[in-house]
Assembly symmetry: C2
Homo-oligomer: 177 residues x 2
């Protein structure tokens, strides 16, 4: 991030690195998300339960930004769960620590603004694709732009993220071969 000396120390002190075993909750539906963070290692699944069925809405891997945004921002109970699909490690920061850093370190505030701006762009692009592209086109785009993700994510979850059933993803994949 380009931080140095006392500032860097302040920042590092505000984060706490937590290890997760496979299948542990990072955020649980109904509870308030106290932290957001960066995935250092492992894979984390966002999902909701709908008519008794789990629907995956997103998956984080290494070096990406993780959190139940709505709950963290509003400090209301989360609507979604985040759970580890593998063992892993996340560098977490609480809302109060985040606010303190943003207040005390002008450079960190700028960093946070940039992070938010780019997060918006990423989420909005996904929303856009969900409206405009077919399931097949979304899979093809992912194959083109994020092949590393595709190799790691179990297909059942990938299907759900793409907004299709596993049955249909299997069809899409056989078409593309």
């Amino acid at each position: 991030m380009g931080f140095e000396g006392a500032d860097l120390e302040k920042i590092l002190d505000a984060f706490v690195s937590i290890e997760f075993k496979k299948n542990e909750f990072v955020v649980e539906e109904g509870k308030i998300a106290k932290y957001i963070g960066f995935v250092e290692s492992g894979m984390f699944q966002y999902y909701v339960t709908l008519d008794g069925e789990e629907r995956t809405t997103y998956i984080n891997i290494e070096n990406t930004f993780l959190g139940s945004l709505l709950s963290f921002v509003t400090q209301k109970p989360s609507l979604e769960n985040i759970r580890s699909l593998t063992d892993g490690k996340i560098s977490l920061i609480s809302r109060t620590n985040l606010k303190r850093l943003v207040e005390e370190l002008p450079l960190f505030k700028d960093f946070y603004i940039t992070l938010l701006e780019h997060t918006i762009c990423g989420i909005d692009a996904t929303r856009h694709d969900l409206i405009v592209l077919s399931g097949e086109a979304r899979y093809a785009k992912m194959l083109r732009e994020e092949p590393h993700l595709l190799q790691q994510i179990p297909l059942q979850y990938l299907a759900s993220m793409l907004g299709v059933t596993p049955r249909h993803l299997s069809r899409i994949r056989s078409q593309i071969r």
Copy 2:
């Protein structure tokens, strides 16, 4: 926003209020989005052209935040168009003016952070619904939560925003009656 005196004046000076006739571009595909803003009046449509067909991805009405985020943030050519569907008025701010306000007015910086955080939540909720809900459920939700929007938006555009065809939206509407 709760600003006063010299600060308020600085802020007001940074924005410029522009009137649009029906069917004018606010942002055009291929051009860099120099401004973002708030809609004071009128209705504005976001769309892309795909296989010669226009696909609506979003619609702004009064008192909402408008802009081609990806282009404004990255200062690269916009992938989408924004156009007025009615006569209207937008209060616009350029990227440089926005950055200046954020630098010079700590309160404005906080305001901007809050705006970004809430914008993320809104977009993410929409993304979520596109993955998890059916077209019919998305329409029903909109009917429940934003009936005023529903009354104003022409159905052809609404259909596209919901990710379905006008033919299908017509079916959904007749089911719900």
